[in-house]
């Protein structure tokens, strides 16, 4: 940021750090920019430049996440068809017009674009499930939006539970070894995707007990109610919840 005047002719109700927060929100939120909420701290010409910088930031952010999130499918496609290239497409340009950087909604929109573009690129039965796996992983790495606090146990904002018809962990293992599975084993598998406050991503396979607890956590129940809903003893429920809280799949209540 370049100084345009020595000292501040304008009096601010808040400190400089709060003003910086306004600038950051303005850069990350297309809604604030379209509502001209930057006029308080930006001259007209500088607002135009800030808009360009916002587009740069968003494209860079999602290009990086697409590259990391859809790397397995990329290895199975011609380079020009990899998900990362969608960050330079016209459809992506239109997403940028309503983008909130790091939000769950934008992550899902970008991920859905990938699914719609890549589903038809291969014909193996496991292909669409691989893409669904990568979609769920992408949503974790592309969502930095915090979960609103609650007085009850709740799922993390991006936490995703997904049932797969194929043994996706085995498919991934094959791909990591450079092998393309022609006939992936059918094995119903439930995977949980979560992201911690510090940005660490977890993908874990759930057993029936953990699935029951995850389903019982609905953001309005106490532990006893969760245990009852899951049909489990409270001690067992507490143990499972502790594991789920450790990986931020479930968040503790805030009093």
């Amino acid at each position: 940021m370049q100084p345009t005047q020595r000292g501040s002719g304008r009096r601010w109700a808040s400190g400089d750090r709060d003003i910086q927060d306004h600038v950051i929100r303005y850069l990350t939120d297309s809604g604030l920019r379209s509502a001209s909420k930057g006029e308080v701290f930006l001259d007209w010409n500088e607002a135009k430049r800030a808009e360009r910088f916002s587009l740069f930031l968003a494209r860079r952010y999602y290009r990086d996440r697409l590259n990391r999130g859809f790397r397995h499918s990329a290895a199975l496609l011609r380079a020009e068809n990899a998900a990362v290239n969608l960050a330079d497409s016209m459809t992506f340009d239109s997403i940028l017009q309503t983008c909130i950087l790091g939000s769950l909604a934008t992550a899902r929109t970008v991920g859905a674009l990938v699914l719609s573009e890549l589903r038809g690129r291969r014909s193996e039965e496991w292909w669409s499930e691989l893409l669904e796996y990568e979609f769920a992983f992408f949503v974790q790495i592309a969502t930095s939006e915090p979960t609103p606090i609650s007085r009850f146990l709740q799922h993390g904002i991006s936490t995703t539970t997904r049932e797969f018809r194929f043994a996706i962990p085995e498919v991934l293992e094959n791909l990591r070894e450079g092998k393309t599975p022609t006939d992936a084993p059918r094995k119903p598998t439930t995977l949980l995707f979560s992201r911690t406050h510090h940005g660490r991503i977890y993908v874990v396979e759930l057993d029936p007990t953990a699935i029951a607890v995850m389903e019982a956590v609905n953001g309005s129940r106490q532990v006893a109610e969760i245990a009852k809903s899951a049909g489990l003893p409270q001690e067992e429920t507490n143990r499972v919840l502790a594991d789920l809280i450790r990986i931020s799949a479930v968040l503790s209540p805030v009093q």
């Binding site: 000292g7 600038v23 930031l57 950087l101």
Partner: protein, 276 residues
């Protein structure tokens, strides 16, 4: 584990794990490695990398506009204990909101104001004490102006270094971009910067970006213009210890890294030859 050379300028780059074998095979090109991320647990090359090269901590440790959490300080301390570099680096940046609800996920300068200067000075000293090593701070360019700035970038940096005694990690492309978007010459822009505080120089390439409608940092070789500017800066930096080719990207190839290292080494060899 090796130490940075005391009697000559060290010329290195960032550790790109996918180029670990190339890095190990080319000690004649690379004197040191900056670490932007901790090595992956399954990085089989890293023990040898650490054996062969001095490592400089250049991770994201936290934004010094705000007090660092105990978690962040502990992490910084542990990384420095692991790398044992001659200094640790952070940036003049403020990229996420105080409530952590929004982040730019990219380097972004603070408002250059008295309040931010005080914040950076206080928090830099806390970080330096936590890691028990010298701290160097890297300049970050702005792309647009905010009305509320109270001083220039140069004044902010000079007063910061005067108050804290920290070292200056000057990123030359950042300076070049800041000058470019002000439509002034880079040397003119540098006139008020505290070049005598420089400990490390970053060089990198710039390329046209369609969103910015102008040049920005890119994982390409540093241009002749950037390298000439870097050499000019080096001549005025008596405390300079290291030059780092700032490329850290999974897309960079061994050939690109080799080209970047060779042109950087050639530029500084020529610079030294002319000086002597």
């Amino acid at each position: 584990m090796t130490a940075l050379s005391q009697d000559r300028l060290s010329i290195g780059t960032f550790y790109n794990p996918h180029l670990a074998q190339f890095t190990l095979d080319h000690p004649e090109l690379i004197d040191h490695l900056s670490m932007a991320d901790p090595p992956a647990a399954d990085d089989e090359f890293f023990p040898q990398i650490q054996q062969q090269f001095p490592l400089l901590l250049h991770d994201y440790l936290g934004q010094l506009s705000d007090p660092l959490s105990e978690f962040a300080l502990k992490r910084a301390r542990e990384l420095q204990e692991r790398y044992k570099g001659p200094w640790v680096a952070e940036h003049f940046q403020c990229l996420h909101t105080q409530d952590h609800a929004r982040s730019l996920d990219y380097v972004f300068p603070p408002l250059y104001t008295e309040e931010f200067l005080q914040r950076f000075c206080e928090n830099a000293l806390v970080l330096r004490n936590a890691v028990d090593a010298p701290l160097v701070m890297e300049n970050i360019p702005g792309f647009f102006s905010v009305r509320h700035a109270q001083m220039s970038e140069a004044e902010f940096l000079r007063r910061f270094f005067d108050q804290t005694g920290c070292g200056f990690l000057i990123d030359v492309p950042h300076i070049w971009l800041a000058a470019h978007y002000r439509k002034i010459d880079s040397r003119e822009y540098l006139a008020e910067f505290p070049l005598d505080r420089i400990v490390e120089i970053h060089v990198a390439g710039v390329e046209y970006d369609r969103d910015l409608q102008g040049p920005w940092i890119a994982p390409t070789s540093p241009s002749d213009e950037i390298l000439r500017l870097a050499c000019w800066i080096a001549e005025q930096a008596p405390e300079l210890r290291a030059v780092t080719v700032d490329v850290f990207s999974p897309t960079i190839t061994a050939a690109q890294l080799e080209d970047s290292m060779q042109c950087t080494r050639a530029a500084f060899a020529l610079c030294r030859a002319e000086a002597s």
